[in-house]
Amino acid sequence: MNVNEITIGIVGSGGDGSITCGELLTKAAARVGLYALLLKSFGPQIRGGESSVRLRISTHPISYQGDRLDALVVFSWNEYLKFQDVLALKTGALVIHDETAEPDYSEKAPLDPSMEARYIHVPFRELAEQSAGDKLAKNMVMLGMISRMLNLPLDDLEKIIYAKFSKKGDEVAQANHKATEAGAEYAAKLNISSEVPTLDWSPRPAKMVISGNDAAACGALTAGCRFFAGYPITPSTEVMEWLMKELPKVGGKVVQTEDEISAMNMVIGAGYAGDMAMTATSGPGLSLKQEAIGLAGMAEVPCVILDVQRCGPSTGVPTKSEQSDLMAAIYGTHGDGVKVVLAPNSVPDCFHVIRKAFEIAEAYQLPVLVLSDQFIGHRSETIDPFDPNLPPVPHRTLAENGQLENFKRYSLENPNGVSPAVTLSTQGGEHLVSGIEHDETGRPVSSYSIHEEMNRKRHTKMYEAMMQFGRVHEFGADDAEIGLIGWGSSLGVLEEAVERCNKLGFKAAGLVPEMIHPLPAEAVQSFIDGKQHVLVVELSYQAQFFRYLKSMLNHTDRMTSYARSGAKTLTAEEIVHAIQQRQETVLA
């Protein structure tokens, strides 16, 4: 049977090479223009230890990881048990496992017999030993087998293998390639295609393989970001690591700071001086940056803060995704803070949303917080290559010469709240900036009327930024009765859920705002106003997004919440199930 997409899982312990295999498959798919989405999971160890990948490959664009697996490769059932949550199988799925390692696997397999899994025992080690002379090459054997299932050309695979292993010498590369061939042959002999659906595709231009974190870093680079300061924290560190390597090439400055507080303040210093500046962090770092984020809003310094969310509260589960930094992002700093919050919804969207973040920061002279998460930050996707010729985003409006006399840095003249700025070392633009409430010239004041006026100015900017840049993604049936609202990385699963609903006969549509704060309330309001029932889906035990929507909209009694903790990705299955349940209640 030919299909146009397939979802595979691979799980093993330390030396099994599941991750490498997943990465190489993704690259191979990219070379022939296939879409792929790769999720990796690790155990608690720093290095080594169990790991798994989940790979969905498709002929059409995807931003959802798929519900259940079509096929699973298991090197160790013990390890599989640790990843069951994220590697659930379809009924009748193909299970390929290592014969030599655990001979009685089919009995040992902890799968419910009702799943009707079809088991194939493959002597991975043996094949590896024979072909590559090293049984550690067993993941390459597997790579070959899977490539065969996916119809991926072996010569593309060869190139990728050489690129990967050539550092270790041609011999190593060759051995690995041999193992791949052996795997492909074995698969051909098994006639796997008769057992499982085979991917049917025709070649298209090659794609990029990139993670959300790298995409965000690329976005910053092209937007014109020339200053980055950060402190390592999982799952955001790659953004910093990439920029440390690349920004200096275009003359940008990078600093690994002593902590997140320093990073945020350094970014404020650079932003104040005139640079487009950015920092990246995750929950605990966001909490530490809160005071300085308030300063950026008060001093009207453009800057971008990327938060790649993980499970909270506190240290939580650092390697797993959640959407529970929402309220902290919107309201975390004390006082009536000023900022814009955006959320990317996929790997390529990280690129575009970071660019937009810089655009808004510069246009409205305020901090823009981008809420990504581990789910998109760490997953790899094959995507259409970014345009390297995108222009940098426009720099903030600068005061003209005439405005420099008695320069009013916080002039109230412009009804949209934006006051022309100067970059530091402009002659005649000398002025005082402060986190203390100030008048138009920047001097400290404590009068109510100025405080009120300045609050209005700052919040007007936010509102205007929303009017100009606020955007929501809508999808699904035009005459939908059921609405699904989610945010950020849930877009993919919501699209899938909406599609399935419509297939099931529920007329459904979905909405995912790109700008979270200020909320483009009119668009969201008109979306819910037209529906019988709206389900708000999120990975936050507290249902932060649901609460936030209620706080910003009217007639929200038709909204209900589907919210749970993170540490496990959302599936279309559970969402559709939730809708079915709600519909029964609503219609009953």
């Binding site: 993704t26 690259k27 191979a28 990219a30 070379r31 990728i160 690129a163 090659a206 794609k207 990029m208 393989v209 990139i210 690329c218 680079l221 020339r226 200053f227 300061a229 390597k245 690349e246 200096p248 090439k249 275009v250 003359g251 400055k253 600093v255 700071t257 002593e258 507080i261 320093s262 990073a263 945020m264 303040n265 350094m266 970014v267 404020i268 210093g269 650079a270 932003g271 104040y272 001086a273 005139g274 500046a277 300085a292 300063l295 290559p385 970014f386 390297p388 010729n389 530091l424 070392s425 002659q427 633009g429 000398e430 002025h431 005082l432 900036v433 402060s434 986190g435 001097r443 400290p444």
Partner: protein
């Protein structure tokens, strides 16, 4: 582009101390030591001869941290304890500017104490002026990390018990490349030291004893006067360990002068070196950079 070098003549003699004085009238108390820091800063800037728009004065929060408002330069009165990171950001974004970070003992040794070692080891080329009054002035008289043992303050109603920190000794442990101590009663020395600090290529720390008559009594000034002692003429400024000994005397005397200076690569220079190294790998256009993601 105006580079601050180790010159001894003003680069731009048209600027006089008044060029750096803003119109805002200080609201410090009568007799506050900080007045005697403000004017020397203006004088030192004139002495170095940089135009006001090429200067940024960055502070945290505190009485002393109000100083940017009183300078006709770029100024940032930020949040408590964060003058150094902000100043570092400014310097990296505008390497040709003269950047001064300024603030109190609480700002720099207490809440901001975590940034000081790192500014030192990065050798960020700014001048850091700490006005040490051994008290929290702005919040009306609580103990600071430099309050002497036994002193009564609002938060040590039975006498302070923690051993005070010496800012200059810390700076030496932090590999700061220029470390000096001054007293507001020694105006000429103060002007000269701040001038040298600004001219110093790298992180320059000037620890200034600047009494707070309001919360430490009007006699503090005279008290300090009795204990100060300038470093001997033959003092060598290139030995960090000796400098540490000189800065942290235990005989009741307080040394004034430049304890240590060293020329080594600054953060800005290092950033340039980094750029060169990165570029040397080739593939510097965005197109080329992006190509790493093509399989």
């Amino acid at each position: 582009m105006t580079m601050v070098t180790a010159a001894t003549q003003p680069l731009r003699p048209e600027f006089v101390p008044a060029s750096f004085k803003s119109e805002l009238k200080p609201i410090w108390c009568k007799g506050c030591g900080n007045y005697a820091v403000l004017t020397p800063i203006h004088k030192a800037l004139a002495e170095v001869g940089v135009p006001p728009h090429e200067v940024a004065v960055i502070s945290g929060i505190g009485c002393s941290s109000r100083i940017p408002g009183y300078c006709a330069t770029y100024g940032f009165n930020s949040i408590h304890g964060r003058a150094l990171p902000i100043a570092t950001g400014v310097k990296l974004a505008k390497p040709h500017m003269t950047v001064i970070a300024a603030g109190g003992d609480g700002d720099g040794l207490s809440i901001g104490g975590g940034h000081f070692p790192h500014a030192g080891r990065r050798n960020v080329d700014i001048t850091y002026i700490m006005m040490d009054n051994e008290i929290y002035g702005l919040t009306k008289g609580q103990a600071s990390p430099s309050t002497p043992v036994g002193d009564l303050t609002k938060t040590t109603p039975y006498g302070s018990m923690d051993r005070p920190l010496d800012a200059a000794s810390l700076a030496l442990a932090y590999n700061v490349s220029f470390v000096a101590r001054c007293f507001v009663g020694e105006g000429a020395h103060l002007v000269q030291t701040i001038t040298e600090a600004i001219r110093h290529p790298g992180f320059a720390f000037v620890h200034i004893l600047s009494p707070c008559p309001t919360f430490r009594g009007v006699d503090e000034f005279k008290e300090i006067r009795q204990h100060i002692e300038f470093l001997p003429d033959d003092y060598k400024t290139d030995e960090r360990n000796a400098a540490f000994t000189a800065a942290s005397r235990t005989d009741g005397k307080i040394s004034l002068g430049v304890f240590f200076r060293e020329e080594r690569a600054t953060l800005v220079e290092n950033a340039d070196i980094l750029s060169e190294k990165a570029k040397a790998k080739g593939k510097n256009t965005i197109q080329e950079i992006f190509s790493q993601f093509m399989p």
